[in-house]
C-alpha cells in the first residue's frame, strides 16, 4: 500500500540534452472529504528533440502528473518527489519563480482551446501578452513576432487573423493559436495534453504533423498525453503507459509495439477498432472500469480486470522494473508472446 521505491528510480542512461527528470512523483488530491492518490511513484526522463507519449484512460494520473511538474495543481494538492528541469528542482518553487519557467522553458497546450483562449481578446493580443511575459521586445517587435508565430503554425492570412477573435476561428485553427502562444517564448519542453482529442481526424493529423515539425525545427522536447495508443505508435519515440496513478509499462515505441508485456497495454491495443478487422466482429476488451483512486486495494490495480490474474497479483503490487533492455513493465505475469493475454 505505502509508496514504494520503484526500481526505475535508479537513473538509467542519461543521453546528452537531458531536459526533464521526474523521480518518484506522488500526488494526493482532496476531492470533497476524500483523499485521492492520483499519482503514485512516477519516474521518467525526456531529452531535447525527443517525443514521449504518456498513455492512459481518464483518471490514470497522466494529466495530474504533468500539471504537478508545472505547478498547475490547486494548493490543496500534496506533491512529493522530484522534477528537475536541466538539473533545477521545480517542485516546491515559489509561484513567482515558477512563473518564470512557465512559458519560457516549459509550455503546455490543453485539450480545449475554447476554454484556454480569452473570448474577449483578439488573437494577436493573446500572443503578444505571452511574448511580453518573458521577452524584452517593443510593441512593434512583439506584433511582428506574433504574426510570424501564426505563420509558423500555418494559419492562412496570419496578418488578418491577428486582429480576429477566437470565435471567428474553427477548432483546429484555435488549437494552432494555442500552439503559437505556447511557442511564443521558445520553450524547450512542450507538453500537449490531449491537444488533438477534440479535433477531427484530418485536423488531428495536421496538428500532430505540425507539432513534430516544430519540435524538429526548434529542438524542443515534446511530451504528449493521450488515451490513444495509435497516436503513440505514429508519433512518439518512447511510450509510457499509466494505470491508476502508476507507470505500468515503458519502452521505446518500436520495442513496445513489437513486444507488449503488460496485459493492460495489450488490452488498450486490442480494443482499438482497426480498419482491417471484419465488420460485426466483437472487439477484444476487458470488463469493468478503472478503480476508484480514493479506495485502492493492495496488489496490482489492474488485477480485477486482468485476463492473466493469479492470486499473487491481488497480494503484492508488482514493481516497475527493466526486464529487457530499455523495456520496463510492472507485472507478475506478463504477456509471453505477441497476442498472448
Amino acid at each position: 500500500m505505502e509508496p514504494q521505491v520503484i526500481a526505475s528510480s535508479t537513473p538509467w542512461r542519461a543521453p546528452a540534452g537531458l531536459l526533464l527528470e521526474v523521480d518518484d512523483l506522488h500526488v494526493r488530491l482532496r476531492r470533497g472529504d476524500r483523499e485521492v492518490r492520483a499519482v503514485r511513484g512516477v519516474s521518467y526522463r525526456v531529452s531535447a528533440g525527443r517525443t514521449l507519449a504518456i498513455i492512459g484512460e481518464s483518471g490514470s494520473g497522466k494529466t495530474v502528473s504533468c500539471r504537478a511538474v508545472m505547478g498547475l495543481l490547486p494548493p490543496t494538492a500534496v506533491v512529493t518527489g522530484s522534477a528537475r528541469l536541466e538539473g533545477k528542482e521545480l517542485l516546491g518553487l515559489p509561484p513567482a519563480e515558477m512563473r518564470e519557467h512557465l512559458g519560457a522553458d516549459v509550455a503546455m497546450v490543453f485539450q480545449d482551446p475554447v476554454r484556454s483562449l480569452n473570448p474577449t481578446m483578439r488573437i494577436g493580443a493573446q500572443i503578444t501578452e505571452a511574448i511580453h511575459e518573458h521577452l524584452p521586445l517593443s510593441r512593434g517587435e512583439a506584433d511582428q513576432r506574433a504574426v510570424e508565430l501564426l505563420e509558423r503554425v500555418r494559419i492562412p492570412l496570419a496578418r488578418r487573423r491577428f486582429h480576429e477573435y477566437p470565435h471567428q476561428l474553427s477548432g483546429g485553427m484555435r488549437q494552432r493559436v494555442m500552439i503559437a502562444i505556447a511557442l511564443a517564448c521558445r520553450p524547450r519542453l512542450l507538453i500537449a495534453d490531449e491537444a488533438t482529442t477534440a479535433l477531427d481526424v484530418t485536423t488531428q493529423a495536421q496538428i500532430m504533423e505540425l507539432l513534430l515539425e516544430l519540435q524538429r525545427e526548434l529542438g524542443m522536447a515534446l511530451v504528449f498525453i493521450s488515451h490513444d495508443l495509435s497516436l503513440a505508435a505514429s508519433y512518439a519515440d518512447e511510450v509510457m503507459v499509466m494505470y491508476a496513478g502508476r507507470v505500468v509499462e515503458r519502452a521505446p515505441t518500436g520495442t513496445l509495439f513489437a513486444h507488449v508485456r503488460m496485459p493492460y497495454t495489450r488490452a488498450l491495443l486490442d480494443a482499438i477498432p482497426r480498419l482491417d478487422r471484419p465488420a460485426h466482429s466483437l472487439l477484444p476488451t476487458v470488463p469493468g472500469q478503472p478503480p476508484d483512486p480514493s479506495a485502492l486495494h493492495a496488489g496490482c490495480s489492474f488485477a480485477e480486470r486482468c485476463p492473466n490474474v493469479r492470486p499473487t497479483c491481488r497480494e503484492n503490487s508488482p514493481p516497475l522494473a527493466e526486464h529487457e533492455p530499455d523495456h520496463f513493465w510492472a507485472c507478475w505475469h506478463p504477456c509471453q508472446e505477441d497476442g498472448a493475454g
Binding site: E209, H227, S230, A233, Y235, A267, L282, T285
Partner: protein, 330 residues
Amino acid sequence: MSAGPLLAVRDLVQEFEVRGRGGVKAGVVQAVSGVSFEVQPGEVLGIVGETGSGKSTLARAVLQAPRPRSGSVVFRGADLVTLRGRRLLDARRQLQMVFQDPYASLDPRWRVDEIVSEPLVAHGVGDGTSRRSRVAELLDLVRLDPGRYAGRRPRELSGGECQRVAIARALALSPALIICDEAVSSFDVLIQAQVLNLFERLRVELGLSYLFIAHDLAIVKQVSDRVAVMYLGRLCEVGPADAMYRRPLHPYTLALLASIPEPDPHRARRLHRTITGEPPSPIDPPSGCRFRTRCPRAERRCADEVPPLRVVAGGRQVACHFPLEEGMSS
C-alpha cells in the same frame, strides 16, 4: 412489414437561416443538400463525416426534429415528413436515438428505472407491474444488474453505465431502427469497445438496424455493413465497408483513411498523404463539387458541375468526376 427498405431517405434538404445585426438575413447554412440513402431491415448503415459535414443535422431531420426543408423520409412504408401529431409519434416509436453525451441526455434527478420506463409510460404501454418487469428485462439486455442499478441516479454511474441506461431506454419500445449519433465517441478505448460490442450483440439478439453516425471511420467500419461518407452536406461515397476500405473511390474517403493513426509503428507515418486546410463554410459552399477546394485531383469541370452520386460496380456509389478507380465505374 413487406420487403423493401426499412428507411428510405430521398433528396433530403435541411437549411438554416443565419441572421446578422438587426435580424437581417445574413445567409443560409446549407447543412444537408439533397441526401438520399436506404437502410434495409437488419442492416447497419454507417455515416462518417467531420465536424460541419451535416451528419447530426441529417439524423435530426430523419427524426423530424426539426422537420427537413424538403425531401422524404419513408420509414416502414410511411413518409414521416407528411405525418403530424399522434400519427408521427406512433410512427416514430420504432425509430429511437442514442446520443454522444449520456450525462446530458439523462435527467439527473430521475432513477435508472424511471428513465428506462419513461417511454413506456409516455406511450401508455402496460401497467406498473408489467413495466417493472420490462425495465428489468431491458437492464439485463444492456448488461446492467437490475438489482444493483435500478435505484441509482445518473451521477452515481460511470459514463459507460450511463450510456447503457440510454440504450436501454432507446430499446424500451422495441424499435426497428436506432440512430446512434457519436454514441461511443466520448469514451476511453476499453469502455468504447464494451459499448460497441453491446451494440453488436443487441443487433444480433434483437435483429436491430442502426444508422451509425460518427466522425471516426474505423469505429464506423467496425459496426457497419455499408458506409456513407459525408462532406459539407452531401454524400461523397456509399458502399460496402470492406470494399471502401480496400479501394476508396472518392479522394475525400482516401484522405480520411490516410488520417487515421495506425496502432503499429511500422505502418504509421503514411499520413503525409492527408489533405491540408479545413472544410469551407456551409453558408457559402464551393460551386460544383464541394470537396474541390481541397482535392488534389480537382479540375475545371469540378467547379462547373455538381458530380451526381452515381452507381458503379460492386453495389457502390460515388459522387466524383474523377474517382480514384476509374476502371470500376460503369
